[in-house]
Symmetry: C2
Subunit: 292 residues, 2 copies
């Protein structure tokens, strides 16, 4: 059995004759006759009574027609479903993002993407750490990853889509003196609040401090996996933190003392994906990230 054969049978039913059906497809009449004859042979039963000048369905043909119609409809449904996904009227875009990049710039990008393509579901997953983010992209679990390093992997491709300045976030009322920035050595004098080893924020913090003074041994005050606890901890006077600018600005609005580090510390925002063709949804998202 075959979609083509089913289509031919339905055409004969709807047109009343083999000749008219063949003309409507279009295909030659003998081709249609043979295709139906082959189907009948395969099924072991004639589907049509040949009455010389007209044809009519046999009982077997009557039974065949309804599921055959359904079959053709399903084929159209399948085709339309795929087209809808390709045309960004449906489907899903799987993203993975470092937690500190979710608020900025991810939410803005996702918001613009969703407004442009409301039919596409966006799923955002949280990686264990930077290595896991790369792995999720490499394995196909996510199609696009938002990280802070261009991966050292030939099968992956990274696009720099922005930079984030890192700011020191200090307890309310901390006296900075006359300077508008905070020296790395001064930062090291605070008990620090940060996430566990292996996370990108932590790596950024230690790298920044060592860059300035390799011998300094920063005093870690609090280590937590709960990023959302960092700002409240600073506010409670538990210590200082280093956060990307958008998060630091939020903390400042709550009363924390915020200052850029001196010298300046930045991290890159990198969009990662597998080398090769992206899905239409991912392609649009990448253009959004590049352009904006």
């Amino acid at each position: 059995m075959d979609l083509r054969q089913a289509q031919y049978v339905i055409a004969v039913v709807d047109n009343g004759s083999f000749t008219a059906a063949a003309a409507s497809i279009p295909v030659s009449q003998p081709a249609l006759s043979q295709a139906i004859a082959n189907l009948e042979r395969e099924l072991g039963t004639p589907l049509f009574h040949r009455l010389g000048r007209s044809v009519s369905l046999t009982a077997a043909g009557e039974a065949f027609v309804p599921p055959a119609r359904q079959m053709l409809r399903d084929a159209e449904v399948a085709r339309a479903a795929v087209t809808a996904v390709a045309g960004l009227d449906a489907g899903r875009l799987d993203l993975v993002s470092l937690p500190t990049l979710v608020v900025e710039p991810l939410v803005e990008l996702v918001g613009r993407f969703r407004r442009a393509h409301p039919g596409v579901l966006v799923r955002i997953s949280e990686p264990e750490d930077s290595a896991d983010l790369i792995e999720q992209v490499r394995s196909g679990e996510a199609e696009l990853g938002l990280g802070d390093t261009v991966p050292d992997d030939a099968s992956l491709e990274g696009h720099l889509i922005g930079r984030q300045r890192m700011l020191a976030v200090l307890p309310p009322g901390t006296d900075l003196g006359s300077s508008t920035s905070l020296a790395a050595t001064r930062l090291a004098s605070f008990p620090l609040i940060t996430t566990p080893r292996g996370t990108s924020t932590r790596r950024l913090l230690t790298t920044a401090l060592r860059d300035r003074d390799p011998d300094a041994d920063p005093a870690i005050g609090v280590v937590t996996e709960h990023r959302e606890a960092i700002v409240p901890l600073v506010m409670a006077g538990a210590g200082a933190a280093v956060l990307p600018e958008p998060l630091a600005r939020n903390a400042a609005a709550l009363g924390a003392t915020v200052a850029p580090l001196s010298p300046r510390v930045e991290r890159e925002v990198v969009l990662v994906h597998r080398r090769g063709a992206l899905s239409p949804a991912a392609e649009v998202f990448r253009a959004l990230a590049d352009g904006g």
Copy 2:
């Protein structure tokens, strides 16, 4: 798109890899790869992410799979429906029968057929007259016809499946004297009750009378299209009728005087169908009629 391609895609989804899918069908792995590649080219979108050592569905693939499964199920439904009809577990048998043959022998045949194949619907239509019965069979409106003449038509085939003796049915208390049969000339002396010209019963009556005495002009007492009124009319003394033996026996049970005609008058019972292969249901029915 193609049922085969859909089947291949589903096999990959269910088996997790192209190789395993190919082994399960069975088909060679390159054939499966090419078929899916062709489908993807036709749809304009990849259905699978090729991850080197494993594959996973793209968003388009996710959208494709459910209707594709439905399509394959429908193909099975179509096949099963046809098989059910061919195997006499479903379907319909269209019969057309002269009214006087419905009670005998048709009901008995249909009863036996239905007991053997309860899934097959039997439809019995009533022809206008003998010519219409032939036409219904010839046009395919009915597959089998039960008549009383072998049709003079090269496209049709007639099987003699029995004979029916015609009996005179006379009002209760009619004196037949010592004879156990009724001479044709005696019959002609009764006012006769019969159906309109063109019907097979009428033709049989007049033919029988003329065979005996071409000059006799039978006195027609009542002409009615309502066959079921004939016996009550006889019972009411409205005249005499000539009926096939089974109907006449019923009348006798109600009190009518019944006698075979002398000389004997018979009609043939003929099963008519188009030349060529019959549907399985019709074939079984014909065997039933021939054998019984």
